[in-house]
Symmetry: C2
Subunit: 509 residues, 2 copies
């Protein structure tokens, strides 16, 4: 493809992306394809001779597009949002057009320098302490791929620091601390590193937040048994329910366990720190006081296209002392002089994309005010959903909603006041059916979770095009499906007749 | 930014990328900025109010572009090439425009299915055994970020397998095998995992290839001492000199050490397996016979924009058994049924970009023939450079060239036949000065390396726009700089007069 062919294909791509966004609301949220669909459209081997690009571009529309789930659809409420803005798309386009692997300063100074600067912009946007800023010369931040990578990097640095300070400690005794509500990244880091993981129990009465006594008891117990807890992954905004670990109490415990590295994973909720009114509930002061490292993903709720996981550490040496490998072929004048950051020593791989460009484009285009406005709008829309649930007949919150995330389930109102309450088991069965009906639809997407044995449904707001009408129609649709479940349930009870009904009712109490 | 503003900004971006490629040859290869340059142009905090996008787009040209090193420049011969094709740019643009984190089949079926298919295309392109293909249902391939990630994933899977088979093995006894010429990814994996690494010595007489006796001796020695070598990172095409480990001999040793996982890292050279005439020298047959996992980076010499590291394993269960974590919020109907691949269990993170699209666009647009043609052209250009070096007066190969990589240095021809040969130390000093002069230039970029104490210079061919004229002018420029070094050296000897000259000459023998 020559330059003019690229211009033509590029214009067409831009036009087709415009068409995509014009038509997004009319599309299904989820794909309707069945496993294996693509093998019917794509040959098993690459073509021997090159094909015309127009055919390839058309095939994207014809055979790839039907297999996509549209995460930017206004009725996408699953998982957490994955940001996609036009500014992010354009930044990625510019960055890709001059591809370079940016592993040290010399091989593209702008990439390293922009990353160092915009990470400081982001730190200030969130109210992080100057200690975490690159300008401090001690702490610093850099972009990682995902929150899993960020956590893994932090845990590796923590283990390395612990081992330097405790050279006699055996790997078999090292233990990573998470809670039972921590994202799977904690367990995965344990698998990757071959280290023990202890998931400390959290309580529904504490809204699934890690509290002092549970943490202290676990630490005391493990320490007595000779285990070496060296890192705690605390969460600000868990995936299941948006729970926030009590960093104030964790900080108190940490004083008695000074070698415990506290990694705060705020993958989803961290960007909400941009709004001053949310900082207290998200423990900003304590993050600044106690966190050794802090992560949030701008590619979730933060308007920056995947991937843009921001990781800050209180001391950059923790990273470089754990990860620096500089063979001869990677040595450079400026790197040797120590006058520049070589980001390859701040993450797991060597090469890295020029990701800071999209963070820069987005933060400039939205400004701090625009960014805050976006976050607040998502929260307001979620508050509307919460209000609708609270006023509903048969839907009920499982735990208080968190920012832009609501966890709810179907809890049928009894027709008679003295009717027995439904058992957890029956409610779980009903909600499985309820969720099955919702997930069989293609015009909306929500995901499931389980909280202390309770099967529930999550609704996360955050797609850029979601408006009040989408929340209201999501609610209407949920009510409709809930009613269908209840009708079927009621019919099934009737069909069994009085004896079975009694048996069944007994079984479910 | 609304849709029509995006259309305008998108067209402009495409036009500016066209301008960039029209002007690429006239640009300096390297940036001329000094460390810290960007802080003079970018404020320390994000703007409070959003800025007009045109200002932002213009700033990319004005302040970012001067800080870029142009890896696509035809006179870029450093490190290894980093592929950038228009097809790759367009695929990335489409993929980014419908951002989704693709961590399981359900959340965007096309992403998973296309990856499974094009990884099989790539496997066939390279001549890999059907055992490595996704269609086999046993082995399989997936895209990783970098060769470092691929190696880390392979090593984690190897360690996990070893520990399952040898539950009594202590982490402290596990040992990763590399050679002294393995890429830093081996050492880095050791740092990340906290495991021992043994770099087995390779010999210049074997052209830095790992041979049977060294490997066997090391394994015997370590095993006797109770250590547990569980993985060997063998290399097809080392970074320093393009050396190829003797996989035939390694395979023999492996028969006596059946629990040794052989990961073949062919990050750079692997794509050359697309050419049947190169398969024997690159040990394709032995890769298919002995490798447990194999990696090559299409984002280096393989025409696909960064990042596109392809990793294949002989048994996908090795990955999933090492990395599978499926919490409730990630469970899906198809995932539970096992009818689909959930790629999140094949790599370190959770979310992943839709990278297969660019591999698909590139392989279709070039076809197998176009891909081979590109590889062969790079090798021919390198052969021209080798010929020029061999015919030159003062430049000399350090080791036979490999594919599209040449390692050479300045070795002055003595004017008198009986003049003493230069010592390694003096040659290293001269070549440091030589390389210093080359790297002070901005119209060309080469990198340095060290081979068994010999300081040398690498020239790697592979940028898409490199033609014969760029090779010839690179050679002319090198000769000019070499002559300048020799003149200065000769003057410095004369200036010292006969006595110092003698002393110095003695010192350098």
């Amino acid at each position: 493809m020559d330059i003019e062919q690229f211009r033509k294909a590029g214009y067409q791509a831009i036009d087709r992306i415009c068409d995509y966004y014009y038509s997004l609301q009319e599309r299904s949220v989820t794909s309707q394809v069945e496993p294996g669909y693509l093998r019917q459209h794509v040959p098993l081997t690459a073509p021997e001779k090159g094909e015309d690009f127009q055919i390839i571009a058309d095939d994207y529309q014809k055979i790839i597009m039907p297999g996509l789930t549209h995460w930017q659809h206004p009725s996408f409420f699953a998982y957490f949002p994955t940001a996609c803005t036009f500014e992010g798309i354009l930044a990625d386009l510019y960055a890709t057009s001059a591809t370079n692997p940016g592993f040290n300063w010399s091989n593209s100074p702008a990439c390293t320098e922009l990353e160092a600067i915009v990470m400081d912009w982001a730190a200030q946007l969130l109210g992080l302490s100057p200690a975490f800023m690159n300008a401090s010369g001690v702490g610093g931040g850099c972009l990682q791929t995902t929150a899993s990578d960020s956590a893994l990097v932090a845990i590796v640095a923590a283990r390395s620091l612990y081992q330097r300070n405790n050279p006699e400690a055996k790997m078999e005794d090292l233990i990573i601390y998470t809670t039972t509500q921590t994202h799977s990244l904690g367990l995965k880091a344990g698998l990757v590193l071959g280290l023990k993981v202890r998931a400390v129990e959290v309580d529904a009465r504490d809204q699934f937040s890690l509290r002092e006594s549970s943490l202290r008891n676990a630490l005391d117990e493990d320490t007595k048994q000779g285990l070496k807890p060296f890192v705690l992954v605390a969460t600000v905004g868990t995936t299941s329910s948006g729970a926030v670990d009590d960093l104030s109490e964790i900080g108190k415990v940490a004083k008695d366990y000074p070698s415990l590295w506290i990694h705060v994973d705020a993958a989803w909720a961290g960007v909400a720190l941009s709004c001053p009114e949310l900082r207290e509930m998200l423990y900003l002061k304590e993050i600044n006081q106690y966190a050794t490292s802090f992560c949030t993903n701008f590619h979730k709720w933060g308007l920056v296209n995947f991937d843009a996981s921001t990781l800050w550490v209180r001391d950059r040496k923790y990273l470089t002392e754990a990860l620096d490998v500089t063979p001869s072929f990677l040595r450079t004048k400026h790197g040797d002089a120590g006058t520049v950051i070589d980001y390859r020593n701040w993450h797991l791989g060597l090469g890295r994309r020029f990701r800071s460009l999209k963070l820069w484009f987005v933060l400039r285009s939205f400004g701090v005010e625009g960014f805050q406005k976006y976050i607040r709008k998502s929260i307001e829309l979620n508050n509307l959903f919460v209000k609708l649930i609270e006023e509903s007949g048969n839907l009920s919150l499982v735990t208080p909603s968190s920012l832009a995330l609501t966890v709810f389930r179907l809890v049928p109102k009894s027709s008679a006041q003295d009717a027995p309450a439904f058992s957890t088991q029956v409610l779980n069965e009903l909600n499985h059916i309820f969720y099955g009906r919702i997930s069989a639809r293609h015009d909306i997407l929500l995901t499931q979770t389980t909280l202390n044995g309770i099967f529930c449904i999550r609704l996360a707001v955050g797609a850029a095009r979601t408006e009040e009408k989408h929340i209201r129609s999501a609610y209407d649709l949920l009510v409709k499906e809930a009613n269908a479940v209840l009708e079927a349930y009621s019919e099934s009870l009737s069909a069994r007749g009085p004896v079975q009904k009694e048996t069944h009712t007994k079984g479910i109490i």
